[in-house]
């Protein structure tokens, strides 16, 4: 079942076409929504939350229509906005309990789930202090906690690593992986950094200028490219000539030789050639596509 489906979705703002003919189907799991700033990521999330009405087409979340059943959708999803959105004078505990109740949780459940959720995102003693004194990393955790406190089926995380230092980024990405895996909550996470999402997402949706560029599983982006990379300590040229003589297509690439794989025998030919020449083999590996190549292609 798709957790998110759009059909010919379009959003026209005065003077700007934010989304254009967007048709996507997204399965449960961690989904990365990638695009440059202004590509339409936030607009798409707002339409999916039922906060904006599409100008054309339609969208559904968890099988519910975003225009007619938006209240029901908002009971079942969580949303972490990109920008700062926390009142400075409340403590994290006070604020998260309040947000749980506004999501419909009874008072006792709201308190229990707030304590649990703050612990899961990694806020401990400091949760009793006013949010105004928190670091950026701690604020991001509070923002994440309010999106998770009501145990949604799906969370929208808008640029969750924005403004974090490298260590903070790593921790946030690890948390996102845990939400999708251990917690069993589907995630739609946006970023303008592809490399970041490549590591946590199962599926990537790439949009540019409001249009869909790609929507496919991460595994298919990075599948074997049919190229074998070989590195030897010295005499790279000698090996290259030998392989060409053996009928292989070889491209030198710095300290590497890239060899088109013609079949199972290619590996044997390389192994035997290296052995015959008495060279020291450093590595021999199947080259995988990198997601960045999608953009350079």
């Amino acid at each position: 079942m798709s957790i998110i489906a759009t059909r010919g979705l379009g959003k026209q703002f005065p003077g700007v076409l934010a989304l254009d003919e967007l048709t996507i189907d997204i399965e449960p799991g961690v989904v990365g929504l990638v695009g440059a700033n202004g590509a339409g990521k936030s607009t798409l999330i707002k339409i999916l939350l039922g906060l904006l009405e599409p100008s054309r087409g339609q969208a559904s979340v968890l099988g519910l229509d975003t225009v007619r059943e938006s209240v029901k959708i908002r009971e079942l999803v969580g949303y972490m906005p990109e920008h700062d959105c926390l009142p400075p004078d409340l403590s994290a505990t006070e604020f998260i309990v309040h947000m749980a109740r506004v999501s419909g949780l009874p008072a006792t459940a709201a308190r229990e789930r707030s304590a649990d959720t703050l612990r899961h995102v990694g806020l401990y003693e400091e949760r009793y202090r006013p949010i105004g004194g928190y670091s950026t990393g701690m604020r991001q955790r509070v923002k994440l906690a309010q999106a998770l406190v009501h145990d949604p089926k799906l969370v929208f995380l808008d640029e969750p690593t924005n403004g974090l230092d490298p260590a903070g980024r790593e921790e946030m990405l690890a948390l996102i992986k845990r939400i999708g895996g251990q917690f069993g909550i589907s995630v739609l996470v946006t970023s303008h950094l592809l490399g970041e999402l490549e590591r946590v997402a199962d599926h990537l949706v790439i949009i540019d200028g409001g249009r869909l560029l790609r929507s496919q599983a991460v595994a298919t982006f990075t599948q074997a490219s049919g190229v074998l990379a070989v590195e030897v300590e010295e005499d790279l040229d000698k090996l290259g000539h030998r392989l060409v003589e053996a009928g292989l297509r070889v491209h030198p690439d710095g300290r590497l030789l890239l060899i088109d794989i013609a079949g199972e025998t290619t590996y044997d030919v390389v192994r035997d050639s290296v052995a015959d020449l008495g060279l020291a083999l450093v590595r021999m590996e199947n080259r995988r596509h990198r997601i960045e190549e999608v953009f350079s292609a």
């Binding site: 939350l49 908002r74 409340l90 949780l105 009501h150 069993g184």
Partner: protein, 296 residues
Amino acid sequence: MTSVIHDIGYRHYDGPRLGRGYAVRSLFVHNLRAAYGLGRPAKAKIMPFLLFAIMLLPAAISVAITAFSASAGLGKSLPLIRYSAYAVYLQPLIAIFLAAQAPVLASRDLRFHVTPLYFSRPLSRLDYVLAKYGAVATALLILLATPVTIVFIGALATEQKHLDTHTVQFLAALGGCVIFALVLGGIGLVVAAFTPRRGFGVTAVMAVYLLSSAAVASVQGIAESQTRFGIARWAGLFTPFDLVDGVQVWALRLKQSAPEPPPSGLGGPVFTLACAAIVAGSLAILYLRFRKAGAQ
């Protein structure tokens, strides 16, 4: 018991989800508490509680004097403060409370961009505005009705004559407190919602109160010196306390407390319609203001 905190893993919630009505009530309670600084640092409690205490003083003093004069056998006991006059007499204090606390409710969510978190939950924008308005009006009602109730309890305790009349007047005055709370709350929230910084909000609400009062008072002074009493009475439309007092006089049959009564004939209905228009208009303006904020 060991000192190790065990990671018990993630637990799903399969309890009830109480939906939109409960969400609105939760937001209402949260805002009502915020209006008195509850759930916030001690600093936030000082102003509302200080004003609340000062607001009670005249009621307590009035009851004490009446009780004393009755027990001292002065023959004729001194009358208590009139229930319906309380808000009019203490209007500067009420205006300060509104100026100090309306921005807490109206502009904080806008200033710190908290609104997207509310609108991504099972609330509509109208629900959100109604919860805010209800919270401000209830906070004001507590401020206005508590001292009036103390005076009434004083009347019962000192066994005033005509207690049946007292009861009717008290109940009518409570009705007046509700109208005061709705009209003042609406004006305060609208002014504060357009001033994202709290300091500006406080100043703006005070300015609206002081300027309208001063302008109306001077118009009334000039009009009376020229014996144009009609103009003096209509001028009351333009300051919130005189306006609501006009409704108390016309609709609730209470004695006038503002400098001028509402004009006879059309005056009462027009004053009442003006109050209704302020409440409806405030809701509409707040709805538009927060709808814009939520779409950002």
